[in-house]
């Protein structure tokens, strides 16, 4: 017992690790702030494309989504970060992470928006078009607001997934929270910094997980 506390819940080491871990948290949040809006917008376009009457656009969009749902994000990230330099394209860890997560995330957001758009009854589009709204206006003012509301729990769920995903950036030495905690762990040979990082992730994400659960229950009933 003593040993477990010493190895996992060592307050002294946690306090030492705290400044670095907090700085890492800043980078974690920065990645989220860049990747979540980008992924959502990319996903929205892919979703619209996947519902296009144009066959080529539709298959391209679906192909994009399925491809990036099949490739693990870490594989994508390492390919971009460690593979592309061989072709003379060296990217900073931050740019590599942004591109990799953008591609991965767009695919997931696309599936969610697609389901949302499909959940809006056809009559809504017809009513809007019958009053002279263009296709783009109909999407902006009529279908998309309803679609978004219908899949709000899934969108939030995906936001949680993105925050968790940022931990992968540690693999390419981008100093986000897990990387910072891992660094202190390797210096102290003590797992407490990882517990600290885990605690912060919980603090950040547990409330969201609860909110989503509540949302889902409300929609189910």
């Amino acid at each position: 017992m003593e040993q477990i506390i010493q190895q996992f819940f060592n307050v002294e080491i946690m306090i030492k690790a705290l400044p670095l871990v907090i700085k890492g948290l800043g980078i974690t949040l920065l990645i989220c702030a860049v990747v979540i809006p980008m992924g959502a917008i990319g996903g929205l376009f892919a979703a619209i494309g996947s519902l296009s009457p144009n066959r080529a656009v539709r298959w391209l969009s679906i192909g994009f989504v399925d491809l990036f749902r099949a490739i693990p994000p870490l594989v994508l990230l390492i390919f971009i970060y460690a593979g592309l330099p061989f072709a003379g394209l060296s990217l900073s860890p931050f740019v590599a992470v942004t591109i990799g997560f953008f591609l991965n995330n767009s695919a997931y957001f696309a599936e969610i928006f697609r389901a949302g758009l499909l959940s809006v009854p056809r009559g809504q589009t017809e009513a809007a078009r019958s009053t002279g709204l263009s296709q783009a206006q109909t999407l902006t003012y009529v279908t998309l607001p309803q679609a978004t509301r219908n899949v709000l729990p899934d969108l939030l769920s995906n936001v949680v997934e993105v925050v968790k995903l940022t931990s992968l950036a540690s693999v390419v030495s981008l100093g986000e929270m897990l990387h910072a905690a891992g660094l202190v762990r390797s210096l102290t040979y003590n797992a407490s910094p990882l517990i600290l990082a885990a605690g912060i992730y919980l603090l950040l994400l547990w409330p969201l997980v609860r909110v989503i659960a509540r949302f889902e229950r409300r929609i189910a009933s």
Binding site: D66, A70, I71, I78, A87, N190, W206
Partner: protein, 224 residues
Amino acid sequence: MEQFLDTFLNPVVLAKYTPAILQGTMVTVILSVLIVLCGIGLGAGLACIRAYRVRLISFVIVIFADVLRALPPLVVILLMFFGLPNVGILLSASVVLFIVLTLVLAAFAEEIVWAGITATPKGQWEAARSTGLTFTQTLFHVVLPQAMRMVIPPLTNRAIAITKMTALGMVIGVPDILGQATTAQSFSANASPLTLAAIAYVVLFLPFVIASRWLESRFASPGA
């Protein structure tokens, strides 16, 4: 173009490292199958236990599911792999990866199956109980079969997302596809092993992604 092929699909490098990556593929496949079977089994079991609505037990299950859904799997993997030896528990990298991803999948599966159970109309429970079926019989013969329809598509999606995370094993040295590919890449100073790894994942997972799309359209509730 030639240079591109040389860098990303170099025949010499490919020939040399394909066997290693095939070995890695076997590791990925075996781990994936075990994780899916154990994770979904455990998660469904927990959801059934929760259906008996024993307060304390339900509470523990909810906490388990919440924590594992809120924590990044990589954090838990590192914690177990680097932390446990310090308290005298030695587990191989593959076992750590298996345990963590099984628990994560179980957490999600529990929530999904539970949602399916609660979405079954109360009248179904009442009808079954009124014919003398026990609670357990009602759960297994009436409620779960109906919940399946609702549960299979999200469960498939989640199972794919989590088995893909076997790639995280590379960080602690599991010789899976990505692990083999990064090793090969550093030895060969060429990106081809990574290309091969990406192709291996696509070949492995794309059929499931496409199947899940099909399942979703098939099970999509009418009027939704």
